[in-house]
């Protein structure tokens, strides 16, 4: 091993800290905001990402282990509500049989404001690999219109 250089080590540490704060500052800090809270249930659930293209808004929610049959979605105006339940295990397990219990469980409700008006009749949802994906087509008047420039 090369000789230990304390300045280099400190410099590396400073860079690492800068990087951590840089990252969390620019990106909505999903990790930092919740890192020191007791238990994972103490945060909004499910966590969601929103995506958008010119025809629709897509919501992706992190919901592993949620029984799809308990999921209930509704759209009123531009508010999307998601309710559901995540059960701990199938069947009956005595509490004392648990060696570790880290997964969050329970019922949840979440209301989300969508950035645009959506066509409530065409909303559809898929559940795949623990992700809930809701496709919300934009209302006609919210879609971007291409305007052709006439050359006179």
């Amino acid at each position: 091993m090369a000789e230990l250089n304390p300045w280099q080590t400190l410099e590396a540490l400073r860079r690492e800290l800068d990087r951590v704060f840089d990252e969390t500052g620019t990106r909505n800090e999903p990790f930092f905001r919740t890192a020191f809270l007791p238990g994972r249930a103490a945060r909004r659930y499910p966590l969601t990402n929103l995506y958008e293209d010119k025809d629709a808004v897509y919501l992706e929610a992190l919901a592993p282990g949620v029984d799809p049959s308990t999921l209930d979605l509704s759209v009123v105006g531009n508010t999307l509500s998601i309710t559901g339940e995540k059960r701990r295990v199938a069947g009956d397990v005595k509490p004392e049989a648990f060696h570790r219990s880290e997964r969050a469980t329970g019922k949840f409700v979440r209301h989300l404001q969508l950035p645009v008006e959506v066509d409530e009749n065409k909303v559809h949802a898929d559940y795949k690999d623990g992700l809930l994906i809701v496709t919300l087509p934009k209302a006609e008047k919210a879609k971007p219109k291409q305007i052709t420039v006439q050359v006179g």
Binding site: Q8, R15, N49, L50, A56, E102, A104, D129
Partner: protein, 131 residues
């Protein structure tokens, strides 16, 4: 079942410069572990991990779970609360687990591992004979 805390494996350490941007990030998935009469059951939350992106293996008494999560949504991200990251976690198995009969099942983003107890580790009823 002891756990090895290996949070970031195999991160190629280049020479401490600004090259940290594109490293793959790994997190340890939350797990529940409970015991039944026949063995241990491990449940791990692995959202976004498809079956073919999941690798579960036992080597040298170490159980390794590794999964790669993928976004499947089209469009540009406009609001973000999480990022899908890769999952990695290792557990050290005791001899009392019958390693040949471990089974795994991935459903709704939850991995269920059944670790059956070896025959000699199972509780045994001993018949009392009255002489």
């Amino acid at each position: 079942m002891a756990e090895k805390t290996v949070a970031t494996p195999e991160v190629p350490k280049s020479n401490m410069t600004e090259s940290t941007r594109h490293q793959e990030r790994y997190v340890a998935p939350p797990v529940d572990i409970y015991e039944t009469r026949d063995g241990l059951v491990v449940l791990a939350d692995l959202p976004g991990v498809a079956k073919d992106a999941l690798d579960v293996r036992v080597d040298n008494n170490v159980l390794t779970i590794r999964g790669h999560a993928r976004h499947v949504v089209p469009g540009e991200v406009t609001y973000r609360e999480y990022e899908l990251v890769n999952f990695f976690r290792q557990f050290e198995l005791s001899d009392k687990v019958d390693q040949g009969r471990i089974s795994a099942d991935l459903k709704c983003g939850v991995l269920t591992l059944n670790l059956p107890k070896a025959e000699e580790a199972k509780p045994r009823q001993i018949e009392v004979r009255v002489g």
